[in-house]
């Protein structure tokens, strides 16, 4: 097959997976205005959950993902009240907790990573299904699309989703309209974490991983959020696809080792010129 077609297809698939990984971060960033620095740690947690379920119960990741979604939701809910509630509820506006939320979510990531390191060290792990890489990528991409559709429907069609969007646009107005903002924030965070862990769960079946893999997806997720904006899941997926394509096509022409340099340079340029994402308005 033509190298370019190959690269293109792979770029799209990888992009969908990246988008999946970024979705949770984008949701939390968008609604709570918190840049969740524990995102990567939760992705890793999802990967290990997936691995353990596969190892001990022989349930493949594409099924265990539903279980992980539930566990992730519960953990996320708890994590919100442990690390963020105090900070968020005491602040008058999100600017006041911008810094402390970065720090508290970072502590959360230290706690999780420290724990995982204690048990698993940095031993590389892999889930080996009787599927080719291409097939697992297809499977993960499929889930990525499903999650995007589900999350979009949830946000735009359900009462809860509308409340979340209302809170993300104007928390004070939402409060006045009688929305229980604390609950909404907690649920949004829980969904974000749940998505992060589900992404980890699925990625574990595609690529090998270790305790420290999550941070790579976290950094990529920053780029994606900035590319796709924070508004809606579709934007995130598109951001992911752009990144996937960029990575793959750059990789064809320049040394692969330089790809992160290009990625982060794009991140900085975008932040400067298009802080609301490629599709958002200007500053």
């Amino acid at each position: 097959m033509n190298v370019y077609i190959d690269t293109f297809i792979n770029g799209i698939l990888i992009g969908l997976i990246y988008g999946l990984a970024a979705m949770g971060l984008a949701l939390i960033w968008g609604v709570l205005k918190v840049i969740n620095l524990s995102h990567g740690a939760f992705i890793t947690l999802g990967m290990f959950l997936s691995y353990l379920i596969f190892k001990y119960f022989h349930i493949p990741p594409y099924i265990s993902v539903f279980f992980t979604l539930i566990i992730g939701f519960i953990l996320g809910f708890l994590a919100y009240f442990i690390s963020l509630h105090k900070i968020v509820s005491h602040a008058k506006n999100f600017k006041e907790y911008e810094l402390s939320s970065l720090l508290s979510t970072f502590s959360l990531s230290l706690i999780i990573t420290g724990f995982l390191l204690f048990i698993f060290a940095t031993t590389p792990m892999a889930i080996n299904l009787p599927l080719s890489l291409f097939e697992t990528k297809l499977l993960a991409s499929f889930f990525s699309i499903i999650f995007t559709i589900a999350l979009t429907l949830f946000l735009y069609k359900t009462y809860m989703g509308k409340a979340i969007r209302a809170v993300s646009q104007n928390i004070d107005a939402a409060k006045l309209m009688g929305v229980n903002t604390t609950l909404i924030l907690a649920i949004s965070f829980a969904i974000g974490i749940s998505l992060a862990m589900a992404a980890g769960n699925l990625i574990a079946m595609v690529f090998p991983f270790s305790t420290l893999s999550g941070i790579l997806y976290e950094l990529k997720s920053f780029v994606i959020c900035v590319l796709g904006g924070l508004g809606n899941p579709v934007g995130t997926i598109v951001g992911g696809i752009i990144l996937g394509l960029l990575e793959n096509f750059f990789g064809l022409f320049v040394n692969q080792g330089l790809v992160p340099f290009i990625e982060f340079t794009i991140l900085i340029l975008l932040l400067i010129f298009k802080p609301n994402g490629l599709f958002g308005g200007s500053k």
Partner: protein
């Protein structure tokens, strides 16, 4: 006026304590642990000039530590110039890079600035990873001969320690002078409300950039000393994101925007970590435990040690800064 001087003197006293005890006891083990402590103090004070005075939280500040380390290392490695000159050049170069980067990223506010600085750190790390003359991913290694011109490795280690001590004192004094200067007042105005500051006549862009440059200069020099002492440098240890966040923590822990705060914060953080690292009971889980401690600090003492003391003990309210 007097109250501020008290904090400065207290901070100076603490720093001198860390410089003098290893010296008087001629104890290498104390020197090594003091080296780490002083390094953290200097880094925390430098970051505080940007973060505490100007309100811009750089999550990738370690990039200047790395840049300084690489410049010093490369200058000594290729040109064999003197360490002092190399350190100063490293600081100046880092400040220039800060001016260049600052002119664009300092237009971003809050979390966007934070993310951009992470991006800068990662981009530069990746770039250095691919630069052959800087050793790429392998990094550069000194020949022991380099230390010979400083009186052998033994003396070189002491020299690095004294240099670091001097830099720590210098950065503390500079931070004090800035805080109580007209320039510092301008920075504080920017921290509180950038738009208001500019309508009061503060050239916000210039001020921010200068603050960024100063807070880049010192980490670069510290990085230079650190990697000189280490004898080798590689991108992973030069541009470690964890150290960046540690710097922020130290400032927060001590008290953001204060003179004494970063000093106390750095020492406390360092001691907690050192204790956890060598303690039998905790060393396996020290990452988790430091996470828990840090979380507790963020949640319950967000104003830091200084703020806490000022709030709790009336007498200290007007003395501590």
């Amino acid at each position: 006026m007097k109250k501020n001087l008290f904090s400065l003197l207290l901070a100076l006293g603490i720093i001198f304590y860390f410089i003098l005890t290893p010296m008087i006891l001629n104890s290498p083990i104390l020197r090594e642990s003091s080296f780490t402590t002083l390094m953290y103090i200097a880094l925390a004070i430098s970051l505080n000039i940007l973060m505490g005075f100007t309100g811009y939280v750089s999550f990738g500040h370690v990039v200047f530590f790395g840049i300084g380390g690489y410049i010093t290392f490369a200058l000594l490695y290729y040109y064999k110039i003197s360490l002092f000159l190399a350190l100063i050049l490293a600081g100046i170069f880092a400040a220039l890079i800060a001016a260049l980067l600052g002119s664009v990223v300092l237009n971003l506010r809050g979390a966007y600035f934070a993310i951009a600085t992470i991006g800068i750190n990662e981009a530069i790390k990746s770039l250095v990873n691919n630069l052959e003359f800087l050793g790429g991913a392998e990094g550069l290694f000194f020949n022991m001969k380099i230390y010979k011109s400083y009186g052998g490795p033994q003396n070189a280690l002491w020299l690095s320690f004294y240099l670091l001590g001097i830099i720590t004192i210098v950065v503390l004094i500079i931070s004090y002078l800035i805080k109580h200067s007209k320039f510092g007042l301008g920075l504080f105005a920017i921290r509180e409300d950038e738009d208001a500051a500019s309508t009061l006549g503060v050239n916000t862009k210039l001020f921010k950039t200068i603050a960024f440059m100063i807070s880049a200069f010192f980490p670069a020099v510290v990085g230079g000393i650190f990697f000189f002492k280490n004898g080798s440098i590689d991108p992973g240890s030069a541009f470690s994101l964890t150290k960046s966040v540690e710097m922020i923590f130290m400032v927060m822990l001590g008290g953001i925007g204060t003179i004494l705060g970063p000093v106390l914060g750095a020492i406390t953080y360092d001691k907690i970590k050192e204790t956890l690292l060598v303690s039998e009971a905790f060393k396996n889980l020290h990452l988790t435990i430091s996470g828990i401690i840090l979380l507790l600090i963020v949640l319950f003492v967000p104003e830091g040690i200084i703020g806490f003391l000022r709030r709790k003990i009336k007498v200290l309210k007007n003395i501590l800064d």
